[in-house]
Symmetry: C2
């Protein structure tokens, strides 16, 4: 049965890190709801200008209404984490043990949520030391699965990331 | 007497956080040397497209030949910190107690250099928790001066940032 996946996203996301998981999740029968700063706004990818319409403001979204969370990378996570509501939203999924799929800079949002202490995780190499300081065990692997948390480093990891995420949605 | 200031910079820097300190330092008789990934390359600001020519690759630069370091913000610091040479370069200034001027996301480079433990510092609000995890005491002020280290949060802090930096260059 299809799951309801929150995608938390803002301008300058890494196009493929949104588009490829989104396509794969939809193909598997899951529903995506795009959350951002402002409902109705259009946010754009940083390389290819992929456009995503924000379905709902994260300030008004209820984590309990979703089964999983996708955090695409690029500069979107660093923009989102200035919003206490976005941070609290991501934190709730981690607290509840619901699947969280984070790639590239996505883990920045989880660092600000203080949700990585004692967790195995990965992310884009620039944030390696941030993750270590945040109490994570940084693993230089294409995908790291630690309980509910699925993390990857970069676009070339997408096949492994999507495969691991899809397993969590079964 | 004029000082020699290294400016470590890459694409997507915050235009004003480079341009305004650079103008002020030159007006005060100091010399700027722009260090980046590749000598001769032109890097661009993220908002206004300000162009900066890289004078020297950071891999070939000698910290001992400079009196101070400027780290403009934007996404430039996150790009630079994947270079171990850029990280080591910044670290050397901190180890030697030479003036380091970091604004906005600039402190990301200092986090990766593990150079903020026990230091008072500030930066763009998105990196607040990163700085705390890195062992810094985060101060929500327009400028924080802790020994050799001068940090600010954002473009609106530039007047205070420049004034504090110029005092360190006297």
């Amino acid at each position: 049965m299809g799951k309801k996946i929150a995608v938390i996203i803002d301008d300058m996301f890494e196009d493929s890190e949104y588009q490829k998981p989104a396509d794969a999740f939809r193909d598997a029968g899951h529903e995506l709801v795009h959350l951002g700063v402002k409902a109705g706004a259009e946010v754009k990818g940083k390389k290819e200008g992929t456009t995503v319409k924000i379905d709902q403001a994260v300030t008004e979204a209820q984590p309990d209404r979703f089964d999983a969370l996708l955090i695409p990378g690029g500069y979107s996570p660093d923009r989102l984490r200035v919003s206490p509501d976005a941070v609290a939203f991501a934190r709730k999924f981690m607290d509840d043990g619901k699947p969280v799929f984070s790639i590239c800079h996505g883990a920045q949002l989880l660092v600000t949520a203080k949700a990585l202490e004692g967790r195995k995780a990965t992310g884009w190499k620039s944030i390696r030391q941030d993750l270590i300081y945040a109490g994570a065990e940084y693993c230089d692997q294409e995908v790291v699965v630690d309980g509910n948390l699925v993390t990857s480093r970069q676009p070339s990891d997408l096949p492994a990331f999507i495969e691991a995420a899809r397993k969590k949605l079964q």
